[in-house]
């Protein structure tokens, strides 16, 4: 079986400084992987490089998505293939309604996949259903993209998009940052609703608490640009008790 996402011995530099020193990760359909690690360990770099953010130089290694070389693709091509990144800090786009943004983006993805364009009524029906299933109020769709949204609303908007675009792999970058416990629970419920045997998730987090709500199949600990330990969900609890310092030497 071909893995959904394969990161092989990935080395990445930013401004002449190597951030990832040979990282390997294999994700199969249906799996939920948690990537944990202290600040500066390279977690966010990994998520950015998978999604194709400019500014990173891959000096070695590969990222394959269903066997295809992801690094050869533009970010929008990767999105159309089914790679979704839920941002740690979603941006605001004033004057562009969430509704219009989602409609334009979905149709761009559909066009790239050779699918028909959704008309406004068709789209409206779909987005309403999705919003309803996630308990997201309709009026959010009428507001400018993330403009004046609370931290919780921004994260819910990310989850709404995730549900709407139906990606094959979702990377959640520090989804818990800036959320209180109630907002965190709501966001996690949204993510859990999207778990399926076809879809994989990579949950990047600094803290174990998120993993109480989104229970992973695998946990990887990153330190200084490498995965230094992998295990089952219990590894997260172990970390909670002992902290990250034990891995400093291993790196």
């Amino acid at each position: 079986m071909t893995a959904l996402l394969e990161v092989k011995d990935l080395k990445v530099r930013v401004e002449e400084r190597e951030i990832l020193h040979g990282l390997t990760l294999t994700v199969n359909p249906g799996e939920v992987h948690a990537i944990m690690g202290p600040n500066g360990s390279g977690k966010s770099t990994l998520s950015h490089v998978i999604a194709g953010k400019p500014g990173y130089e891959v000096t070695d290694g590969q990222i394959l998505f269903r066997g295809e070389d992801l690094l050869e693709m533009e970010p929008d091509e990767r999105a159309a293939k089914g790679v979704f990144l839920a941002f740690q800090y979603p941006v605001e786009i004033p004057g562009v309604t969430t509704w219009n943004f989602l409609h334009t983006a979905l149709n761009a993805q559909r066009k790239a996949r050779g699918q028909s364009q959704l008309s406004s009524p068709e789209f409206l029906k779909k987005v309403r259903e999705v919003a309803k299933s996630l308990n997201i109020p309709q009026d959010m769709l009428k507001r400018g993209v993330n403009v004046g949204f609370s931290g919780g609303e921004k994260k819910r908007n990310e989850i709404l998009q995730m549900a709407l675009f139906e990606p094959a792999v979702c990377i959640l970058d520090e989804m818990d940052s800036g959320l209180d416990i109630d907002a965190l629970r709501i966001a996690a419920d949204g993510v859990n609703a999207l778990r399926s045997p076809e879809r994989a998730m990579v949950v990047i987090t600094h803290y174990q608490r998120l993993l109480n709500y989104i229970v992973p199949d695998f946990v990887h600990v990153m330190s200084r640009g490498r995965v230094v330990k992998s295990g089952g969900k219990d590894l997260a609890l172990e970390l909670e008790a002992s902290g990250y310092t034990q891995f400093d030497d291993a790196a």
Partner: protein, 499 residues
Amino acid sequence: MVAAVKDTADRVRSIDVDQYRYGFETLIESEKSPKGLSEDTVRFISAKKNEPAWMLEWRLEAYRRWLTMTEPTWARVNYPKIDYQDIYYYAAPKPKKTLSSIDEIDPEILKTYEKLGIPLREVAILEGVEPPPGGEPSANRKIAVDAVFDSVSVATTFQKELKAAGVIFMPISEAIREHPELVKQYLGSVVPTSDNYFATLNSAVFSDGSFVYVPPGVRCPMELSTYFRINERNTGQFERTLIIADKGSYVSYLEGCTAPQRDENQLHAAVVELVALDDAEIKYSTVQNWYPGNSEGLGGIYNFVTKRGDCLGNHSKISWTQVETGSAITWKYPSCILRGDNSRGEFYSIAISNGHQQVDSGTKMIHFGKNTSSRIISKGIAAGKSQSTYRGLVTAHRKATGARNYTACDSLLIGDKCGAHTVPYVEAKNSSATFEHEATTSKISEDVLFYCTQRGLSQEESVGLVVNGFVKDVLQQLPMEFAVEAQKLISISLEGSVG
């Protein structure tokens, strides 16, 4: 330099404004005045137009005044010295016979409009130059087009329906002959011949333009529209437009321009005067897309325009809306003189510059009357190596009790080689005046672009989406027919501003 930033910088450097879509030339024989400017040139133009003696005198007086004036240098624009003796001041398609329908227009000219996607012919076919016998006017909104090809109006449609409403819409050269009393009363009443270097030049040599008069209480039954097009090599184009809205009337006027590609710079110095009497309203919308020059910054139109509206009557209103995407140099400040009590002036502007374009534009709101109000919404978008300046003046005269102004100037930068500048002048001589000014400058950041592309939009779609969001408040002010065209134009103008 961060790799990402460098990447964008490279992309911006590679902008090729030679892609200018409308750069083609129509081969039509034309009749030119001799090159250069003298009293003889002025007399030549006046004679060509069969003008009465008073009009010639008016022009000559302007010309003599112009000789004593010097070109202004205060705007933030740079261009080589203009040799005013190296310009043709008049060019007209060779007169054939008088036209009674669009079919009689030179097919070459119609083809040009077709390439531009301007629906002159389409409008004529769909709406009928002559309405079907006994047929009621269609319920669809209509646009009357007075096409100015180079300097002479070659087509005027919808005359009949306008005539029934009592609206006069004709080339100004005709109005000078047919409605001398109106022209005499109002021409130069808003922009006097002595106003400024370019307006004075225009007064001496203006070739043609539109004239509109809307009688008391009449709501003009359609949007009035003029498409300008500069077509003759080295021909300065000097348009003169005069719109008078009599008491309680309303008119919406649309002006749109594109010009074919040129090697040499072309001077354009238009004057537009609007007069709104008691309770009248004039809405003037412009989409401007003249040739901006090539990727080295050569060629392109010099656009030195004087546009001013006089809210002469109480409760009158004048609203300027502009989408400026073209020209190498833009020097333009559509303004309102709020003379009547409770009168209102509005200025909504989108100015987009790319490549090597330089824009110095804004408005003046001059409050004289009591309880006058004005609103300025300016959106400047700079990409490539362009420079965009908002320059605005808001003043309240000492008698302008209760004057109010709200100004919002927002600038958006794409790339790191362009610049945006805001130069507001505010002057209140009446202590009861309330003036508010807000200004922001932002950049389309790598983060916003990455967010959009991660959702499946291409780089260009992303920029288009962000920019359209940025200009939304102004686009909403445009008449429906124009809003679509303007949105298209905004995307075209920014083509190549990112990878």
